[in-house]
Amino acid sequence: MSTELESYFAALRDDVDTLPAAPPAAARHRGERRRRRHTVLVTATAFAAVAAVVIALGFGLPRGGPPADRVTTPPAPVETDPVPKFQPLTPVPTGIALSTAGTPVPGTTMTIGDRAFVCWQGPGGQATVAAIDLPTGATAWGPVKLAAFADFAAVYYHPGYVLVMGRNDNGAKPDGAIFALDPRTGRTLLHVDVDSFEADDVIIGVSTLVIASRTDGQTRGYDYATGEVRWTVPDPASRIVHSLPMQHGSGRPAAAGRASLGAVLATDQFVQLTEDGTAILRDLATGVEKARRPGADKPGTVGIMMATALDGILYTTDHTTLKTLRATSLTDSTPTTEIYKTPQRVGIGPPFVCGKARICFKESTEDPGYFVGFDTERRQVVWRQDGTADTVQVVDGRALLVLSGATAQDRSAVIDPSGRQLLKPSAQAGRVTWVTSQSALVFTAEPNSGQDRKVAGLSPLDGDPVPLGSIGTVTGCSSSRTHLICIAAAGIKVWRFAT
């Protein structure tokens, strides 16, 4: 039988060796998308609650207790946002040196007001955080060492706390942890282990962090300021399979138009989907159930999140066929309805919020596929963009997309509510990030590409890019309204780019 077995294996080898393999560039692009998904916790909009809190805080750092989740102050009008006056990049020396191995140390940055926070991994994967005052380059506190992680550690935007997430992604339990640090002192206020970042859902509210653990079937709300569990809700009889924030489409970006890396979702409610397809709407601050709709999703929903929630409505894609988009109202008893069906043989990807009454999602089977903006009220596609969007950030109804194809360089688009692309062709090549609601920065070359990156300013958004200078081989950049901070091989780099 041994010889016969060998003949079976020989046949299997022959068959497998005829299978086509995707080009290596496809694997690299997929890896880049994974990297961005990791460093941008939630690719979606930032909201009025965040803006309101940051505006109220003035300098941008918290002065008292935790901010409220509920939005009581409407966002300031767009016109009040100060538009930066661009100038050529001027280096601001900093005192933090990193490895000099020749390539940038993997790391991330984010800003609150004029203070930047940097997270990188030291020897052994030690997550390390420091704060830098951008105008002077002085180290405000740190470096603070948190814990070692096998995969990555990154800092995420929050208006009142420095959020750091570390992940092992090697089968270890726990899979990683989330920390909240005081931005004024670097003191650790909250440290929560996460059993599995792929199975558990994490929702970042302004005052409450929600983690739905699939290990023990409990959903918990944590207080950033004390690290304590505010509330715990056990799974219902049909277990929870997904938890997601209820977003608001009329939101403003974090920090009055200046979206930092990892734009955070501030919301006062969240939605949980059960295995039997029921949607449960809960209050974020208390965990209290506000509404329940059986039949919102098909039973047995598992795998990647194929739903989003906007202004009281849950949108789900049929996870068995990936062909249809359905809507379920969580504020009234309107039955679940199918609102979109993709063209034949075209799959639909996870939906994102792209503004008020706007959902966007990837449609593909043909290379490179395209990204679609869908009007949920008129139930029709209002725009299409080639490629896959790995970043979606909405400011005043205008969706900023960073799109990548299978092999092409990244390009950007800013789509207004009518579906019009605002960026001129000269501004589309590269990665665009918001500075204020009326201005942006354009980066050439991808992070981690090893290429010299150049930066241009854009104001107004449909104007010509203004070259600001070169920033070399850097990664993990973010900006305030006037300063840019990145991670280079030799250390942290800060430039002034506007007054």
Binding site: Y8, L12, A21, P24, R28, R34, I304, L322, D367, G369
Partner: protein, 170 residues
């Protein structure tokens, strides 16, 4: 230069990785997805992973973990279905492959892994022991039992197929 090194490594190893993934899953499409996911993770951390002594073993470890974890496999499949263009169609596998794949699926994971590493990737018993964290005798036992089970299953399947009464779901 780093991308060039990665691309060269990819071209040199992707057939073996695909063999490994196919042997563990028995599904060509799923094997291709898992292999792409493993290389994507390698590129994501290439600065660190590229310096490993045996990067291919690290990729096999990623694939093994994905195969064992149903939840993660679903994530990979859904992500691929939503974003990746399909690869061109291929000819159907031979009768022997269909039978072997169906039999492999019935083995416990550890036996299947040992059999696939030994018969499809030509790894030595010592290599398999090192890679799976098992001692040499355990690897021998898994291999012996796996082969015996395959022989019995293939004999039964061949006999049944000769009678034309059994339909495989592979």
């Amino acid at each position: 230069m780093t991308a060039e090194m990665f691309d060269a490594f990819y071209r040199g190893t992707v057939p073996r990785l695909t063999r490994y993934a196919f042997g563990l899953t028995g599904d060509a499409g799923e094997a291709q997805d898992l292999v792409q996911e493993a290389y994507a993770r390698a590129w994501q951390h290439w600065r660190r992973v590229g310096a490993y002594e045996d990067v291919e073993a690290w990729l096999r470890l990623v694939i093994s973990r994905l195969v064992k974890d149903r939840w993660r496999r679903l994530l990979v499949r859904r992500a691929a279905a939503a974003s990746a263009p399909p690869l061109p169609p291929v000819a159907p596998p031979s009768e022997e492959t269909v039978l072997l794949v169906a039999a492999l699926r019935l083995l416990p994971f550890e036996q299947r892994q040992a059999v696939v590493l030994y018969h499809l990737l030509d790894r030595s018993l010592a290599d398999i022991a090192a890679e799976t964290g098992a001692n040499l005798n355990t690897v021998k036992t898994r291999l012996t039992r796996g082969r015996a089970a395959l022989a019995a299953l293939l004999t039964a399947d061949t006999a049944t197929n000769a009678g034309g009464a059994h339909v495989h779901g592979a």
